[in-house]
Amino acid sequence: MFAGHFAAGLALKAKEPRAPTWAMLVGAAFLDLLFPLFVALGIERIHATPGIAPGMSLDFIDWSHSLLMAVVWSAVFAAFFVRRGRAVMLAAAAAVFSHFVLDWPMHPMDLALYPHAAAHAGLGLWVKWRVGWWFLEAVVVALGCAYYAVRARQVGGFGKRAWGVIAVVVLLHVVNSPWLMGKS
């Protein structure tokens, strides 16, 4: 999932407007921001799989993406916002953990329960639904963006150009489609 994480971050911003937008977006993508660093450091491993979403096999991503580490990273990230109050901390933690929740239907059994665990989770829709996964993520994008736009109008203080924000997220999802990425 790619654009879906942006949509989740925007929805959490809309839910808790006192949380900074940047924090919700960084939080929602936090596990994916750790992952390339860990790959570069040799802690995690991938290999290319052209034609199959997401274009790589995630051979070992336990330190960034396992269930236990998602909880740990959620707590670590939330701790940075301790001075902003409990509600913002909870939103920050939810942003990070939303990544695991949204990845779970897409990933093909490569989400470990904890680092080096034998048990892995993931419905594997990237593999089972070579095109259908894109429509499921489109639903996540639509719901997240719609909530963001409605709340921006109701609450104010963010979403000044909400339609522009939505256009960026939709464009990301279109660019990440099976047709343009040659994944079908």
């Binding site: 407007p17 937008t21 570069a40 040799g42 913002v88």
Partner: protein, 45 residues
């Protein structure tokens, strides 16, 4: 693709759209301290 190039591509694919979204979003709701009433108070009024 080397791991370093992969990391750079990953970070650019996040940073560029995020920067654009933040500019378009124009968040000011989060800039005040926790002492400020929640934005929901505006709705109540």
């Amino acid at each position: 693709m080397s791991p370093i190039v992969f990391a750079v591509v990953c970070y650019l694919s996040f940073t560029l759209p995020t920067a654009l979204i933040l500019w378009l979003d124009g968040d000011t709701a989060s800039s005040a301290s926790a002492a400020r009433p929640a934005p929901e108070a505006k709705e109540a009024r």
